[in-house]
Symmetry: C2
Subunit: 323 residues, 2 copies
């Protein structure tokens, strides 16, 4: 669905810096962690940017906050989105902190805790049939009847610029990185990371880490055309979306490569992060480490930054057997 604030304007590297200034003090400057045992396993020096410790437990709060603050006058009618994931919570909290109403369309089969979290941040939740078409249709109806600005979860220049601030911080926190790996689903975080790296002027390669079962970014780059995927299948539930109109060209033009990881590797990497770093990350957040481990030879001896994108996981539904 079209985003009227999208304005068909591709974000630039400079926008990430402006986003960082705009959202400073409103988002957490998250810490960076390292582990000798993980370095030994990766045969590289790895720096983990803990966006699982960001407000609402995910980097999505950065983009949502930047998007809300960019609205200016348009903000009075509030913001609207459709999402059952971290963007829903992020936009709900960003709106509340800006004293703006938020309306969130969720599929009616969304887990109760996700609805409760969004409502806990003061947003109003609307339920649609669980199809993409139904979600978009209901969102359109709400905007027509009640007003409000649609904030796309990734195909929005202000969202992309906001997501890039995580990498901008990481590049300030750790010197001399040779590479960065960000997970890629819709591509908002990876696009922002690419812009941040470009702005830094540092010579470093930026990779996307993508689940093999939701490899639309890899296919799109290989074919040179956007190839949305109808039935992705991966444990990394935050990465089942496909690249958008804004994110695809940025990634096509600037990413060093898309590195795929199988679900078994993603689950292994998630356990490694829990056990070695003592950090709770969701499967999507473990994809960059899984991608690194699946392509170790490309990073041997290098200094690599990884964005642990989020930590919202149902502790009753872990992807390994627990007695």
């Amino acid at each position: 669905m079209a985003d009227k604030n999208n304005a068909a304007r591709a974000p630039k590297a400079q926008d990430v810096l402006q986003a960082a200034e705009r959202i400073a003090g409103r988002v957490h400057r998250t810490p960076v962690f390292t582990s000798r045992s993980l370095n030994a396993l990766c045969e590289a020096e790895v720096f983990f940017k803990a966006e699982n410790m960001q407000k609402v437990g995910a980097f999505k709060f950065r983009g949502a906050t930047n998007a809300v603050l960019c609205l200016g006058e348009g903000v009075r009618d509030g913001v609207v989105t459709h999402s059952s994931g971290n963007h829903a919570q992020a936009l709900a909290l960003a709106a509340r902190l800006a004293s703006v109403p938020a309306r969130i369309v969720m599929p009616k089969n969304a887990p109760a805790p996700k609805r409760a979290a969004v409502e806990g941040y003061g947003a109003r939740v609307f339920f649609s049939e669980p199809t993409q078409a139904a979600r978009e249709e209901l969102t359109r109806e709400i905007i027509e009847e009640q007003g409000g600005v649609f904030i796309h979860p990734y195909d929005n220049p202000n969202v992309i610029a906001g997501q890039g601030t995580a990498a901008l911080e990481l590049l300030q926190q750790v010197e001399g990185l040779d590479g960065l790996i960000a997970p890629v689903g819709g591509g908002g975080l990876l696009s922002g990371t690419l812009l941040a790296a470009a702005h830094s002027g540092q010579r470093l390669l930026v990779f996307g880490g993508e689940p093999a079962g939701a490899d639309d970014a890899a296919r799109s780059l290989a074919s040179g055309q956007r190839r949305p995927m109808d039935h992705p299948s991966t444990v990394a539930d935050g990465l089942r979306t496909s690249l958008g109109e804004l994110t695809f060209p940025i990634i096509r033009d600037m990413a060093a490569d898309i590195l795929l990881a199988e679900d078994t590797r993603i689950i292994e990497a998630m356990r490694l992060i829990w056990e070695r770093l003592k950090l709770v990350v969701e499967p999507s957040g473990a994809v960059p480490l899984a991608a690194l481990l699946a392509h170790k030879e490309r990073f041997a001896g290098r200094r690599v930054g990884i964005i642990l994108s989020g930590g919202n996981v149902d502790l009753n539904q872990l992807p390994w057997r627990s007695s």
Copy 2:
């Protein structure tokens, strides 16, 4: 069993400062985390000292490192202990880093991963029958035949002083604390914390958080006499031990109180820490938060430091139902 290095010498507040100088650069200065949602829940400002991120995943590495470094000439024959928990790993790694042999007695029913971890740090493991008497007897035999200095997991002044460095750091990292809560099992961490608080000269109360099913410290303080417990029953496996000869008088004389928490509260607190702080802590590490929540009225509006003592938990055996 007697510890010949114990020297019946009670550690003093000054020893914690010396321990901190001795182990500086060899242990992690662990970060402190906060959470608005946990503050709201606790109706207090709570500061979590992340010793789950310490080397070997627990504060025990502090005491073990200090004890090994204090040995001087006695170190040539190496160190010996009996433990199946974090102390075993901590002493194994501390010894390896000091290029000293370590011999660890474990009950023969200890989980294979615990044995593997200790051996991974280069220690030699000996298996005893799974009784306290058998462990102590085998330890004595090993020392008689092969030499080595026994390092008790908590009833050793250098171990106690080392454990106190966690609180010493916390008091440097956070100003104006009104209280501290440390978990209490054998009492090494709580004793060290009490000494660190005394050394700081700050006016603050130090509490022990103890599982209701292993409440020997509470009973000992109530009766004025050490009351070891034969059959403790709690999910907090690191806190099933009873106070020692050295730790009991320190705790009796200096602790503000021992706060009990039921296992259901401990498991709830553990989940809260995983969900809100995104930190993996073991059940024992969640006991102080459980104790705070069970005695909220005593901390209303206060600034409270909590020591998250460790993060070594079997992810296949979580204390809640997972599908």
